[in-house]
Symmetry: C2
Subunit: 209 residues, 2 copies
C-alpha cells in the first residue's frame, strides 16, 4: 500500500506562482499541468454576468457585488482586482475545497499580491520565476515584436521592482530553458509534499502500524 | 548561460540521510549516486593504521588519536564513534572542502547523531527514510533470513525508538518501492538547491545583470 499516496489524498498543497511579465509563467504552467495531473488551477470568483457557454463553479464562481465585498471584508478572498466595474478574485473557500479533495492548487498571482497570501494562507508554498538575466528578459520582450520601446522600458522597470520581492518567496526557479524550468517547478512541488510539517499524519500512521 | 549551474558550482549542499535499520538506506544511496553525479559521500577520518591499498584522503583521512581528540574538543567533528580502540568520524573540514568545490555532500549518519549535526552545521538538510509500515519493516527484516527472532524484535524496538526523532528532520521519504524512494530523495535535494535562502547570490547576480 502506498502510504504517501494515501496521505497526499488527505490534503493538497497550495502553491503560489509569481513572475515578472515576460518570464514565461503562463507557458510554464501550461506544461506543468500536462506533467503533473494532481495539479489544478483555482477557479476565480467574479461579479460580472455569466456568458453563454460558461458554467458556474467551472468558468468562474459567479456572485453579486454585495457578496463579493462581504467576502473581502471577511478575509475570504485571497486576492482580487477590479476591471470594467466588476470584481475578479480568488475565494479562499474554492481553494480549500480543492485542497480537501487532495488536489494541489496553483494560484497564479501578481508578485505584490503574493505577499498577502501567506498572511491569509500560511501553508502556501511561494515560487518565484526568475529570468536568467535582465538582458535576456529584455531580449525576450523585444523578440515579441508587439511592444514599443517605451512599453519595453516600462516592463523592465516593473520587473526590476518585482525582483525586490523575490527573496520573500520560498523558492526561486530560473526560466532559462522552458523544459528545465517546468521540471524545476514540479520538483519543488513534489519535494514540498515530503516536507515533514506536511507529513506528520503519515508519520503517525506509520508509528501506529 | 546557465546561472543556476554556475551558482550551484559556488557552494554545495550538505545532506544528512538517516533511517532505522532495515529501511534500505544503503541501497537507496547506491542508486542515488548513479542518478545524481553532483553527489559525493563524505570521507571519514580514522585513527587506525592505514592498510595496504588504502589512500589517505580517499579511503579515509588518517590521523592520530591526539589530533582526533583535539578535533572533537574544537567541534570540528560532525559525529564520531569508537570501534576496537580507534576513532572513526566525519571531520567538518573534509565536508566543507567538498561543499566549496560545489559538490553536494551526503552524510550517512545514525538518527540520534543527526540531531547534533544541525547544531554544528545549520545549513544541513535532514532527510529521514521511513518504512511504509512497521509490519512491512518486520517482514523485510525477517526475509533476510539471517537474524534470530530476538534480533528482529530488538531491531523493531530500536526502529520504533528512532521514529520518535523523525519529526525533527526536514523531510520524510517513505521507502515503499526502491525506485520511487531514490527519486524522492533526489527530488528533495534538487528542490532544496532552489530554496531562496540558498539562492540569494544567484538573485543578486540576476538583479545586477
Amino acid at each position: 500500500m502506498n502510504n504517501r499516496g494515501k496521505n497526499s489524498m488527505n490534503k493538497g498543497l497550495p502553491i503560489v506562482i509569481s513572475a515578472p511579465s515576460g518570464c514565461g509563467k503562463d507557458t510554464i504552467l501550461e506544461q506543468l499541468y500536462k506533467k503533473n495531473s494532481n495539479l489544478t488551477q483555482s477557479v476565480s470568483a467574479t461579479t460580472r454576468a455569466m456568458r453563454e457557454g460558461e458554467i458556474d463553479g467551472v468558468s468562474y464562481h459567479f456572485t453579486t457585488t454585495d457578496a463579493f465585498e462581504k467576502m473581502i471584508a471577511n478575509g475570504e478572498v485571497l486576492e482580487y482586482t477590479q476591471y470594467c466595474g466588476n470584481y475578479y478574485g480568488t475565494p479562499k473557500k474554492a481553494v480549500t475545497d480543492m485542497l480537501e479533495q487532495g488536489r494541489d492548487v496553483i494560484l497564479k498571482i501578481e508578485v505584490e499580491g503574493a505577499m498577502n497570501i501567506k498572511k491569509i494562507f500560511p501553508e502556501c508554498v511561494l515560487i518565484f520565476i526568475l529570468p536568467p538575466s535582465m538582458s535576456e528578459l529584455e531580449r525576450r520582450l523585444r523578440k515579441r515584436g508587439t511592444e514599443t520601446e517605451e512599453t519595453i522600458a516600462a516592463r523592465i522597470a516593473q520587473a526590476r521592482n518585482e525582483l525586490q520581492f523575490a527573496d520573500k518567496f520560498d523558492y526561486l526557479v530560473v526560466n532559462g530553458e522552458l523544459e528545465k524550468a517546468v521540471d524545476d517547478v514540479n520538483t519543488v512541488i513534489l519535494a514540498e509534499k515530503m516536507n515533514t510539517k506536511r507529513s506528520l499524519s503519515l508519520l503517525e500512521e506509520i508509528k501506529k502500524s
